[in-house]
């Protein structure tokens, strides 16, 4: 039913809240992509069946919900039981019976399913006490894991669309812009441009039509914050966009979503339909006379389409090639009209700022980087997943306290932020505060929030080669410095990784990079050399070892090393023999094993599996 006034929104919120409160025990099952892949759907089905067949819903006032990503993807499928906050990890359908009988009916905790702190070895009952969660501060991800993303009532129950009501009835568009400016909110999509300033420029640009768009292209390979927000709390994005549209005076817009994110598309579309039905989208929103509607534009799997001018072309149904930006897209954007484009996470912050106040947001974080930032913490870190932390926290806190340190307690080597346009920072930068300006100064960048942790088994030259390969693939080909230059850089790196590097290669890389940075048309090209330049800055010795000594100490570049089994360390357990896909390891049980260097493909399966670290790179 349509919610036509602010008053009826308040009534609806009260009703939705009391419905939520009537539920005494709530079982929340994560159905984010990570947990789905781990089989959480089977857990939900099994729970549904048992709960229905035993008529527990009425008896125990039990609620079952599938939610968006809880963030702790490493340990999925995750089940949280509220109000106590009991956190079960790695739940299988066969555990369901026990969960129902012990926890739901008798109120007991099942030890086996609890999270165990790898350092203290203690089992932790409540999820707020797990270090992975306790150090986080969730604003953009505030509702994810707590609400059913498919239910607008659930969103309204937790205060959804109240920010929109405030903006439309108690604030002028200028006041909204002022508030966003005061909050210090900067774009979360990579550039970090102040959102308030962008909105103001758009509002002041003379035009009949303006557009408000959302960038959900999330091109950074290894990042999934935006996806989790779209999947887990789509209404937050929509509410933010309507507030933004009111502020700049736009009546329509789009959300540009990656084609590879089918679940995000589905949840966003459902949310849009529900918001239209309730009247939060469409004409005369909440009786204010203001109209705004939004459509989904599916991306086609091109990284460059995340760039603003390319994105707008793609939304307009053309091939997404960027243009030179003598005139910015806030002035001349979609269909040549003034357009505000913000990132998913930026939009998700907006309702919170209106609800809680710009001052409160501005006190979080550091001077020029206020609020929080979501990161996808991945790579060789123990607790992989999605985290949101206040700006200004150090890299060390994120990686070692929230992330729990490096897998297998191996030595830390580098952390990569900023995706293909970003860079790698070494150990001595770990105490830097994470904010837009500090990371840029250090030669990396905040980017959209991918944070990839690397250990001593990651080769930095190969990492640079990897990003360049990605960029060669994704360069649209419109300008020559990027199309040809990045390709040449990639060729040089391929040679170095193949053991065919030449003295002078490093200098060639540096001068070529200079040209690409200054002469490319869009930010894809301009930032393409970053992965090489930052690794050269901090790990030049690795490049030199590859070129001059023909050695890859990390054991990645296959022409530049071989594996050997250490006689002292090997216990003859046979694990590596089983793991080897080409039967190149020989040896009797309890005797030292040997690798046949002639047939070994250096795939590393033995090294991954060895429990005593006996496989050495030589």
């Amino acid at each position: 039913m349509r919610i036509a006034t602010v008053q009826s929104l308040k009534v609806a919120a009260k009703k939705a809240r009391s419905e939520r409160e009537s539920i005494k025990t709530e079982v929340l099952v994560c159905a984010g992509t990570g947990c789905l892949a781990n089989g959480s759907l089977a857990v939900v089905e099994s729970l549904e069946r048992s709960i229905c067949s035993r008529k527990l819903t009425a008896e125990l006032k039990l609620g079952l919900k599938t939610t968006g990503c809880h963030g702790f993807c490493e340990k999925g499928p995750l089940v949280v039981i509220q109000p106590k906050g009991i956190f079960y990890k790695g739940v299988k359908p066969k555990d369901v019976k026990e969960i129902i009988e012990k926890t739901l009916i008798s109120g007991e905790v099942i030890e086996r399913l609890l999270y165990r702190d790898p350092n203290t070895k203690e089992r932790i009952e409540e999820y707020t006490e797990i270090p992975f969660y306790s150090r986080q501060l969730r604003i953009a991800l505030r509702n994810i894991g707590k609400i059913d993303p498919g239910s607008i009532d659930d969103y309204i129950a937790v205060g959804g669309y109240a920010g929109l009501a405030t903006a439309l009835t108690e604030m002028t568009p200028e006041e909204v812009i002022d508030s966003i400016t005061k909050s210090g909110l900067r774009g979360r999509g990579g550039g970090g441009f102040p959102a308030g300033r962008k909105w103001k420029t758009c509002r002041n640009a003379p035009a009949e039509t303006r557009y408000v768009l959302c960038n959900a292209d999330e091109g950074d390979p290894g990042a999934f914050m935006d996806r989790s927000i779209c999947e887990g709390d789509p209404h937050a994005v929509i509410e933010g966009m309507v507030i933004g549209a009111w502020a700049v005076g736009a009546n329509s817009g789009s959300i540009y979503v990656r084609e590879e994110y089918p679940l995000a598309v589905k949840h966003l579309q459902l949310a849009i339909d529900q918001a239209r039905e309730k009247g939060f989208l469409g004409d005369d929103i909440l009786g204010s006379g203001f109209s705004y509607d939004v459509h989904i534009a599916r991306g086609g799997g091109a990284f460059v389409c995340g760039e603003s001018s390319a994105l707008m072309k793609s939304v307009a149904g053309e091939v997404g090639e960027p243009r030179a930006k003598y005139i910015h897209s806030v002035i001349r954007g979609l269909h040549d009209q003034p357009t505000v484009l913000n990132n998913v996470e930026t939009w998700a912050n907006v309702p919170w700022i209106i609800n809680e106040g710009a001052e409160k947001f501005a006190t979080l974080g550091t001077g020029k980087s206020t609020g929080t930032k979501a990161f996808s913490l991945v790579g060789k870190v123990k607790n992989t997943g999605l985290v949101e932390v206040p700006m200004g926290i150090t890299l060390r806190e994120i990686i070692f306290e929230i992330g729990g340190g490096i897998i297998g307690d191996r030595p830390f080597k580098a952390v990569q932020t900023g995706g293909p346009s970003g860079g790698c920072l070494p150990e001595d930068k770990l105490d830097l505060p994470v904010d837009f300006d500090t990371l840029t100064e250090a030669g990396s960048m905040m980017g959209s929030g991918g944070m990839i942790v690397m250990d001593d088994r990651t080769c930095m030259v190969d990492t640079a080669r990897y990003f360049l390969e990605f960029l060669v693939d994704e360069s649209c080909g419109k300008c020559i410095p990027c199309r040809e230059g990045v390709h040449q850089l990639h060729c040089i790196l391929e040679d170095i990784c193949a053991g065919e590097g030449q003295p002078g290669d490093i200098e060639k890389i540096e001068s070529l990079s200079d040209v690409i940075v200054s002469a490319s048309l869009c930010a894809l090209g301009k930032s393409a050399p970053n992965p090489i330049l930052s690794t050269l800055r901090y790990f030049r010795n690795e490049y030199e070892a590859h070129i001059n000594d023909g050695k890859c100490a990390a054991g990645v570049c296959r022409n530049l090393f071989s594996f050997e089994i250490s006689e002292e360390a090997c216990v003859g357990c046979g694990l590596c023999i089983k793991a080897c896909p080409v039967d190149s390891i020989l040896g009797e049980k309890k005797e030292v094993h040997r690798i046949n260097g002639k047939t070994c493909t250096r795939c590393g399966a033995c090294r991954n599996i060895c429990a005593v670290d006996a496989i050495k790179v030589v």
Binding site: T33, A37, P221, G222, G299, G317, T384, T458, F470
Partner: protein, 156 residues
């Protein structure tokens, strides 16, 4: 573009969703065609361009620019190896190499018998389980070298 038999009725049904002569629907319509046929057949693209009054070169340009489009039919089993950053540093390249040699095709290609297509993708959002391989959309996490052949041989 590969010539194959395409059910013109199915293609027509997609075209009817878009007003004739409106070139701005090109990409949306191509996405629908891709979804219906699993690739963009030449005949369907020709019909579409006629319908929208755009030159076929435009359809070709869009279909080669965006990764979501394929101009060749796909195999029964589409194997996607994630080569996003998280998967890369946990050994995705080894898996790609291994699959290339098992199937005897390059990434992006389909085996002659149309049984398997090998593709690489950038991050499927399950980085916590890296390296990730999906078989017809079903995810397999923490895949170790040497285990792929068993997984796909079920179907070979």
């Amino acid at each position: 573009m590969t010539k194959t038999c395409v059910d013109p009725k199915k293609a027509r049904k997609i075209l009817d969703r878009y007003p004739s002569g409106d070139g701005t629907s090109l990409i949306h319509a191509l996405q629908d065609i891709q979804a219906e046929f699993g690739y963009v057949p030449c005949e369907a693209a020709e019909l579409l361009c006629e319908h929208l009054s755009v030159p076929i070169s435009k359809a070709f340009s869009a279909a080669t620019f965006y990764k979501a489009f394929s101009l060749e039919p796909k195999g029964d089993v589409v194997i996607r190896v994630c080569t996003g950053t998280a998967c890369h540093i946990r050994g995705a390249q080894t898996l790609v190499d291994e699959l290339c040699s098992i199937l005897n095709v390059a990434p992006g290609k389909t085996t002659k018998d149309l049984k398997f297509t090998l593709e690489t993708v950038n991050c499927v959002g399950a980085c916590a389980m890296a390296p990730v391989v999906s078989l017809n959309g079903e995810y397999h996490g923490n895949v170790q070298p040497g285990t792929m052949s068993k997984k796909i041989r079920g179907g070979k």
